[in-house]
Symmetry: D3
Subunit: 131 residues, 6 copies
């Protein structure tokens, strides 16, 4: 199995609801360093999984939808906890949608893993096949 990974970051404010979150129930923030790993069983005629420039641009475009925002005020996240795990799956969903719409051009990608690093000692992932 082959994969390529691209990485970028974004900075947001948010708060989390529920006693399990302790002080993170207060409005605070995070720098999330994101890795998107695109997996494929074989390489294309160019010898690549996909255009790595397009992959990095796509990741930056998705993260730009979050960057420098207060997630507590994003309409579609009302009533949800924007935990690191949830954000990993949400970024996965948005990347998968863009790939389905052709953002990578021709490619052989069939699986996607998203990693979100929030501190040097804590990170989360979400991984699922592409439809």
């Amino acid at each position: 199995m082959y994969s390529i990974t691209v990485s970028h970051h974004f900075m947001v404010a948010h708060s989390l609801s529920g006693p399990v979150f302790g002080p993170a129930q207060r409005l605070h923030g995070a720098t999330y360093v994101v890795e998107a790993e695109l997996c494929a069983d074989a390489l294309d005629a160019n010898g690549i999984v996909c255009d790595i420039g397009k992959a990095l641009d796509m990741l930056k475009a998705v993260l730009d939808e979050f960057d420098y925002r207060n997630l507590d005020e994003v309409a579609e996240f009302r009533g949800r906890n924007t935990t690191t795990e949830f954000l990993a799956s949400e970024i996965h969903r948005r990347l998968a949608a863009r790939i389905a719409q052709g953002a990578l051009g021709a490619h052989t990608v069939n699986n996607l893993k998203v990693v979100l690093r929030e501190t040097p000692v804590a990170w989360a992932t979400y991984e699922a096949p592409l439809g």
Copy 2:
């Protein structure tokens, strides 16, 4: 699949028996940087795999059982080589036991991977499902 990872470190002395270990047969030591990745198929109602604070406290409690010790003098390791691979599996066993005893509270974790980094150019892992 979702996962969260927490990281901490410990510092021990030990020696390894057998010619395959070369100079590591002498009493020496290591700083082990440990990552514990907790995997789950779904998130709970809070939007998490488990309480990340509890996960980090649990990891620190297990590593504290080793920290600042000479593993050659730990009774239960007599006659065993405390290799990086073995220590990864031993830390996995101790984390799994604590999880079984409720250390994480409610959670959806069904798989655990432990990474031990011993130098910038060498590390080991042990991964197994939780019972």
Copy 3:
């Protein structure tokens, strides 16, 4: 010259005022990874610059004053931009005050440098002698 450095992190929300800040004028957040470097011309009788355990506890205590907070609502920062540079100097000020009050016990520290890392591609420092 000798130094020891200890590192910890904190997570805050804030916004910055002034067109120079572009999208960072919106409420957003950051994980700041902090390094405090304590410098000395000579070691003490124990062979150390200072008690590194005390140094790490002191750093954690200062960062806990910021952690999981919205800096826009901290009274003493009203009317100021809590830029990375400013936060580095403010953490320096608070560490220096604690050192003056004895937080390190006996020590030979005469200079302090504080580094704040906000993304993988941007960080700030403040360095000054201790009084």
Copy 4:
């Protein structure tokens, strides 16, 4: 499952053919930081996956075949794009051949993953079982 990973690096020049590569069609170069992860279901009598010294020496020997070279002038790569993905699979092939020839001595390795890091924001992997 157990694994050990060893890491080393190499520095090469090359160019890539095809409009998908944009400016990378020009002769340029890269420092590749390589990780070779050797997986096994069980440890041997010494408590290891394999001799980590032999594993690191083997990796260095394979990377030395590429190091300080212009890949455009390596005969066996004529007509191929030496992409990061391809190089990961080629290094995998060479490591697997050396393992088959006994480079690790006795071992329990049954799977090999190779990671090539080319910049802080881009890397590729190739993973396959050993025959």
Copy 5:
């Protein structure tokens, strides 16, 4: 003293002349990860050393002059060894020229340090005051 640092990378081919360079006399390449540290004695009215967005754009613009090129064919480097040390000083010279031309807008920067990382175990720096 305050500083901010921004980081980016570039990928080049080159060769080095002279027996001291051993195998690096052959055409090879490198990924250089660059850090530009901009120092100042005081912050401006916005609470910053300079506009960090402008600083990162400036660094990217300078590195783009090298990126994806064979330095052996760059006219102005003919007859010179493009060592890591030399490249650090050359990037310093180009950044200083752009700052003198106003690339940072208003700022308080009076010293510049450039770091070039070529492998995980080797890097070079050049530091000098700004005119």
Copy 6:
């Protein structure tokens, strides 16, 4: 000012005497990741501070004097605390002696800084001019 830095690591056991060291009074160990920064005011005719291959070999030779040893049993350290700060100065002393004996060949180095990283959150340095 120019500098080049080379890095390598070593693994030792030791204990520290005095109540300030808490649990580190017990025999334990550490992986020390070492950086040796060699500074010069100008480059030589080859465009370098010194032969980086010789610098890395020299660092490895000095660290090999410590590697895989119990520092409590090294005769010349009897009665001393082998703290991270002390080890940084001792490695500085040994590197400086080798440089004085010609280990770098021709060079322009006039200052040396040694960094020892012992955990992800703690490190020490020693810096001094060369004689």
